[in-house]
């Protein structure tokens, strides 16, 4: 077994989502977008939030979903789930920033968003969305897990990857080069 695939103990951050407790207030969206604003808390904008509450009051559907991976391709199908008599489109549960929708993308640049569990130094006691969820629809847990070490793509790389998908590698390199020259 190569060193790269060695199993290591890692702290896994988990947010337990109790949809039955969600009161649909979207405070999670407010504070997420405020926390990640520049300067921090200087503005808020739910469409930049890395958690989105998918909700439909008349159907009693309340579903907080976190932004996960960026993906350049759409899913082949759009399955539907029926639970407790309520119909959900598969996408409602999906955290991917994908070409089929505007969700989990910066509204101006369309760059993908991804939940970082509020990475911060010193670390937060719990992610901001959990702190602002007084109804305990979002509960933070930590657990130890044995995992295979793998480098995660950082935010910048994810962003670049999506630009490459959109414009092609060469165009992104050329643009970068031109911008560097201007500086």
């Amino acid at each position: 077994m190569s060193e790269k695939n060695e199993k290591k103990k890692r702290k896994v951050k988990v947010i337990k989502i109790d949809v039955d407790k969600c009161n649909g207030c979207r405070a999670c969206e407010v504070i997420c977008s405020a926390f990640h604003a520049q300067p921090k808390y200087g503005s808020n904008n739910p469409s930049r939030s890395r958690i989105q509450v998918h909700f439909d009051p008349l159907k009693n559907i309340y579903l907080p979903v976190y932004a996960s991976e960026y993906t350049p391709a759409e899913c082949a199908g759009r399955n539907k789930y029926i639970m407790d008599g309520k119909e959900y489109i598969e996408c409602a549960f999906c955290g991917a920033s994908c070409p089929s929708r505007d969700l989990f993308k910066e509204p101006d640049s369309k760059l993908p968003l991804k939940c970082d569990m509020c990475e911060e130094e010193p670390p937060l006691s719990e992610p901001m969305c959990v702190q602002w969820c007084l109804n305990d629809a979002l509960v933070y847990e930590e657990r130890e897990e044995e995992v295979e070490e793998e480098e995660e793509l950082k935010e910048l790389e994810t962003g670049l990857e999506s630009l490459i998908d959109k414009y092609g590698r060469q165009k992104v390199i050329d643009t970068m080069a031109r911008m560097v020259q201007k500086e």
Binding site: N23, G24, C25, R26, A27, V30, I31, A34, A37, P39, K40, Y41, G42, S43, N44, N45, P46, S47, R48, D56, P57, L58, K59, N60, Y62, P107, Q131, W132, C133, L134, N135
Partner: protein, 660 residues
């Protein structure tokens, strides 16, 4: 750079189809904050008293508050202002939910509608793109259906929609404007929207709302959330359960309705049923609500779950909160809560006010019993009370037959019907149906609030203080210990009021003394005016006892969010300015001292001379003359010289040349 607000209003002329994005004057924010305050300023400037409610020249303003869309918890209210078709005075109804923050994110503080569309239209605001769209296919659709269909055709499930139903289309004087989390119900704003042939406004925004001092503001918000959590976990002792919590009265969560059912009047504000509430009723009502209620929900950025999603088989789903749970059941004198929940479903889809409507229905049936309305007038009406309520409602929202008369509300209907019907108009103030409560002895605090409240609804002026004395000295002492909400300089006086209340010699109407009654009423009212300019929900602020927001923390929160320099005195002055401006608009529209009185039977035992003295003293306290008109000095002090000049020009105040 503007903070809290966007600095832009959207001006829409439905007659010409012209749409403009107009920058606002930061000076107006300093003088009035926003929301109700700046709405009143716009109405003063642009809607003179000659303009009638249904005139195309009348404006319909949908406003966020200054703090709407910032992280400040509960700053989500939409303040809708116009001239009421019912009272012919300024109307401002407010609604929680998600609409006002969405408008901020789209880049606007207000939408100002003027003119009248030739055909039914709706407005679609999608950030910078604003369109007037055809709504002929939505005519006749319910409030909620309209919203659903618009979101579907725009392919924008995240849009927030305000809409009217049949009642608004047909200009029912108590038509509401509905959104998915509440209703702007009072004073007939839905009819104004209908008169402009505007079926709905949908909005979607994806821009930033900036704040001035980010770190300080978030810390202040965290503090507010900690206090909310504390109050949610610790209901106040010594007061009825319904008054012990924060938020709007928690009637979707709580089943103990003793306080409302035995203190408030049933029928057409007629009967007290002091022995009504018992364990059996509680069980039956609890079962009915539990069956119907699918979830407790909140407005934008607020953890308090005041509303319920109500869905009964065979009836369309809707969102309900507060006392409208009981209004239909009590007005019909039906013992089964499920009746009220069912008819409210239809009423909310029609888009009518849950307070006024049941009273109008009960009023009609009273006239029928008295022989004033005849079988001919009510031809086809079913025999049973439940059927009758539904039958009358169906006619009112369509203005069919007798419904056309009743659609103008109790005051106007009574006068149109005649034959002695006026005598049955016993629960309106300023032509508007009041909460049905008829008690024993004049309460001096409530006497002043019912008389002078210019939102013309008791719930929009009361708050902060218990409604009855605590039974023991210990309870009173415990209560005042952490009563930090009192304005500076009044701590001793207000605490004394609570501590002594319940001792011998502290009975209504002579307790509290007139000067204390004036100050208590002023405080309660000012807090509402602050909330309504900031867009903060009264349920977290001016309405409950010991709320999260108060006169001591609001100045900081305003300055952190909006970057205005603010302190307690300044904030109080701004709220007084807004309050006097609303009064000035109404005075130009003919509001008189004679209008400022509760109905004769409001209390069983009245004290006409003492009440007159109370009112007189309160006017003086407010800086109004004996007719209730703000004096030149008052107007000058509040920076309302332009009001003074207009009053002089119209002969309301004399230009006596005295120094101001």
């Amino acid at each position: 750079m503007r903070y809290g607000e966007t600095g832009f209003n959207l001006e829409v002329d439905l007659s010409s189809g012209n749409i403009e994005r107009v920058s606002t004057d930061p000076k107006d924010t300093e003088l009035h904050l926003g929301g109700l305050g700046t709405n009143a300023k716009i109405l003063w400037d642009r809607v003179p008293p000659e303009i009638e409610p249904f005139s195309p020249e009348n404006l319909l303003i949908f406003s966020s508050g200054l703090l709407g869309g910032t992280p400040v918890p509960g700053a989500n209210r939409t303040i809708i202002s116009s001239i009421s078709p019912q009272t012919l005075l300024m109307a401002f109804s407010m609604v929680g939910g998600f609409w006002a923050p969405e408008l901020k994110y789209a880049g606007y503080d207000k939408v100002i509608i003027r003119g009248k569309s030739p055909d039914w239209v709706y407005l679609w605001i999608n950030n910078d793109k604003v369109e007037i769209r055809d709504a002929t296919h939505l005519q006749g659709k319910s409030t909620y259906e309209t919203a659903e269909q618009i979101k579907e055709e725009l392919k924008e499930p995240r849009a927030q929609v305000m809409s009217i139903g049949l009642a608004g289309e047909n200009r029912v004087y108590f038509a509401s404007i509905e959104t998915h989390r509440g209703s702007a119900s009072r004073l007939g704003l839905g009819a104004i929207m209908g008169s402009k042939k505007l079926k709905a406004i949908a909005v979607r925004g994806t821009k930033d709302v900036r704040v001035a001092k980010p770190a300080e503001l978030v810390e202040a918000c965290n503090e507010i959330l900690r206090y909310i959590q504390h109050r949610l976990n610790n209901p106040l002792p010594g007061v009825p359960p319904i008054l012990a919590r924060i938020g709007s009265p928690q009637e979707m969560a709580l089943h103990d309705e003793e306080w409302h059912t035995i203190s408030f009047a049933w029928g057409h504000a007629r009967h007290r049923r002091k022995g009504f509430w018992n364990k059996e009723v509680e069980k039956m009502w609890a079962d009915a609500l539990e069956r119907a209620r699918k979830r407790l929900i909140s407005c934008y950025n607020c953890p308090v779950r005041c509303a319920g999603i109500i869905h009964l088989p065979g009836h369309p789903p809707y969102i309900m909160k507060c006392f409208s749970k009981l209004t239909y059941t009590m007005a019909a004198m039906v013992d089964d809560l499920e009746f009220g929940l069912k008819i409210a479903a239809r009423a909310q889809h029609y888009g009518v006010d849950g307070f006024t409507t049941p009273q109008v229905l009960a009023f009609a049936l009273e006239l029928y019993e008295a022989g004033i309305l005849t079988d001919e007038d009510l031809s086809g009406m079913p025999e049973d009370i439940e059927g009758r309520f539904n039958w009358l409602l169906d006619r009112i929202v369509r203005r069919e037959g007798i419904g056309d008369v009743l659609a103008d509300g109790v005051y106007w209907a009574a006068r149109k019907i005649g034959k002695g019907a006026e005598a049955y108009d016993h629960n309106t103030i300023k032509k508007h149906e009041q909460v049905p409560i008829k008690l024993g002895v004049t309460n001096p605090i409530y006497y002043l609030m019912w008389s002078t409240g210019e939102k013309i609804n008791i719930t929009q002026i009361e708050g902060q203080i218990p409604q009855a004395p605590f039974s023991t000295r210990e309870e009173r002492e415990e209560f005042v210990k952490d009563w930090i909400h009192i304005p500076t300089g009044k701590e001793e006086k207000f605490k004394r009021f609570i501590l002594d209340w319940g001792e011998p010699g502290t009975a209504f109407p002579y307790y509290p003394s007139i000067d204390v009654a004036c100050e208590l009423v002023d405080w309660q009212e000012i807090m509402h005016y602050i909330d309504d300019s900031l867009g903060i929900c009264a349920g977290l602020s001016s309405f409950p006892i010991k709320p999260p927001y108060h006169i001591h923390n609001l100045p900081f929160i305003i300055s952190y969010a909006a970057g205005l320099e603010m302190d307690e005195d300044k904030l109080w002055t701004i709220a007084s300015r807004n309050r006097n401006l609303v009064r000035a608009i109404n005075i130009l529209r003919g509001l008189k001292k004679e209008d400022e009185r509760p109905p004769d039977d409001h209390w069983k035992k009245r004290f006409p001379e003492y009440e007159a003295k109370l009112l007189e003293e309160y006017y003086r306290f407010k800086g109004w003359d004996e007719r209730g008109i703000p004096t030149k000095e008052t107007l000058h002090k509040l920076g309302l010289d332009y009001v003074r000049e207009e009053f002089i020009r119209r002969g309301i105040l004399r230009d006596s040349g005295e120094s101001s």
